[in-house]
Amino acid sequence: MESRSGHLSWLPHLILVLGLALVGFPIYVTFVGSTMTTPEILSGHMSLIPGGHFVENYLAALTQGMPQLSGVPVARLMLNSLIMALSIALGKMLISFLSAYAIVFFRFPGRMVCFWMIFLTLMLPVEVRIVPTFQVTANLGLIDTYGGLAIPLIASATATLLFRQFFLTIPDELIEAARLDGAGPLRFLWDVLLPLSRTNLAALFVILFVYGWNQYLWPLLVTNTASMTTLVVGIKSMLTVDANTPWHLVMAMAILAMAPPAAVVLLMQRWFVKGLVDAEK
């Protein structure tokens, strides 16, 4: 990193601090709200200093059945979100790793057709194909199941392309050396390709976990019972049109919804940046 001494060194800091304040303030307000009671929040002059109901509010949110959610506690929704996000992230990684492996390292009829078909799905956003996808999911009896939540979102052209680009950078001689060493296709995959891809895998996991966790439209469609819905959808259900919205709990749920993706990003930050930045060669 280039270190910059002199009269302008405060400027980047100032910009960063301003940006941080801009992004961070609403989150801070949400957090403060989650430590108060609803009347305090709605009083019109809400304090910016955290209130005294932190433990109480979060315990209530996590364990109490919510009337707005047909009596399901938030802990259950978090579990649903977690299962969905993990399934999507891991499923996408598995599928795209294997399909990129097939496309790059094997010569088979229709290889390029397969590649272009995968590539074409990039052109179609989820929303465009959501009705037929719903139809298929419903016919398969996957409504209100984890399978229904995760499987339709697993196919991923982006991740396949990412792996394909990475695999193409692996020199042919390395593959040939492995062949001479007697490593078959599966051994090569396991012993060489997978270890070489680990930073890519980590970066992808972070991106895909956040993507899966933040899904809204699809879980809304594919779940009918409150106990199968996800946290992100649950927050929306809490907002009732009358004045009975328990804002302190909504705020707590918002913070709870932010925590796991934030934790994943923070914990895997080092790998994440490495995977995006360096080619490790």
Partner: protein, 352 residues
């Protein structure tokens, strides 16, 4: 150890032939170098022996076994690649051990073999490092170690020294030669560098456009090149070529009118070759021709004189041992020792 027998080996890609029938028997323990310009098919030929390229026609046998349909891993060979092809995420030890591990050797046997190879190659202190922590020469040694531990019947080298700097290349060349002599393993080595080829080879295969121009001991190729191509490729600086023709009496006369003490079939067009180190300055009275000197390179050990044969004639190089004080512009009387002349048919390029 084994012989390697190539019989009428051909290779074509989608109907385009790149190797046109190579026949060669590589003896047990022999070090054979395949040399040629880029694109001549030398790497393709090596890769066919390795099993990385399919064989279009003919057969390749290692020992008594025809290996056309045998998987690379079952051919009992080891290959050293130009860019080393080490596994970047494995340590030196793991790199060398990987092939043995797959073959199911016991942990102790692997340890013993790797340690032995590491000792030969002086890699003992580096076993726990990863390839990125090694210099180019060290990586090259690891790549050779990976070949040695397999104790194969044949070593294959694909331009292994091309990525090294000049000094290291000379050093590694000597090491490879020593190693091969010590292990006595049949080796096939591909290079485009004729110095490497001359110094390493027991026998050379000069490949040009997918055809073996000549197969023989390096000195044979130097002394009796079978074709114009071999004559020009082997030896540095390259051989001088002069146009000539055989008169009615068969005496060869150069384009400039110089009559040489050599004969060829009467009336044929001849290319006369003579190496720069075989041209000799002569006394004025005995001079067959004169070199018009236009540049002189003093290298200390020898002197390279650039010039033309006669005023405005064909370019000619002369190499003299030691330091010769010759000024540009000098007219240098030359002699053509008859025993050092190489005559080639101008139409076919074959030796006469």
């Amino acid at each position: 150890m084994a012989t390697v027998t190539l019989s009428a080996v051909t290779k074509s890609y989608a109907g385009n032939a790149v190797i046109h029938g190579i026949d060669c028997v590589i003896e047990d323990g022999e070090f054979v170098v395949i040399v040629g310009p880029s694109g001549c098919g030398k790497s393709t030929l090596l890769r066919m022996v390795a099993g990385l390229e399919a064989i279009t026609g003919g057969t390749i046998a290692i020992g008594d076994r025809v290996v056309n349909q045998v998987e690379p891993k079952d051919r009992d060979i080891a290959m050293v690649f130009q860019n080393y092809a080490l596994y970047p995420h494995m340590t030196v030890f793991q790199n060398m051990a990987y092939g043995l591990k797959i073959r199911g050797l016991s942990r102790d046997a692997i340890r013993a073999r790797v340690d032995k190879a590491a000792e030969i190659l002086q890699l003992g202190a580096l076993l726990e490092r990863t390839p990125r922590q090694l210099s180019g020469g060290q990586r090259q040694r690891v790549a050779m170690g990976r070949a040695i531990v397999r104790e194969p019947q044949v070593f294959l080298f694909d331009e292994p020294l091309s990525n090294l700097d000049a000094k290291l290349r000379v050093q590694m060349r000597v090491e490879i030669k020593r190693l091969q002599q010590r292990l006595g393993t049949t080796s096939i080595y591909v290079t485009h560098d004729q110095t490497e080829a001359m110094t390493l080879a027991d026998r050379l295969i000069v490949l040009n456009g997918g055809i073996a121009e000549q197969i023989g001991r390096p000195i044979e190729l130097y002394e009796r090149p079978a074709s114009l191509f071999v004559a020009g490729f082997i030896g540095s600086p390259a051989m001088n070529f002069l146009d000539g023709a055989a008169g009615d009496d068969g005496r060869v006369v150069l384009a400039g009118g110089t009559v040489l003490a050599a004969t060829a079939p009467a009336g044929s067009g001849v290319t006369v070759g003579i190496r720069p180190e075989h041209l000799v300055p002569a006394a004025e009275s005995e001079a067959a021709a004169h070199l018009h000197v236009d540049m002189v390179e003093l290298l200390g050990a020898d002197t390279i004189v650039y010039g033309t044969l006669g005023e405005g004639g064909p370019a000619l190089l002369l190499r003299l041992a030691g330091i010769a004080q010759i000024a540009a512009g000098t007219r240098l009387p030359l002699g053509f020792p008859p025993e050092q002349l190489h005559l080639f048919d101008r139409a076919t390029g074959k030796r006469l």
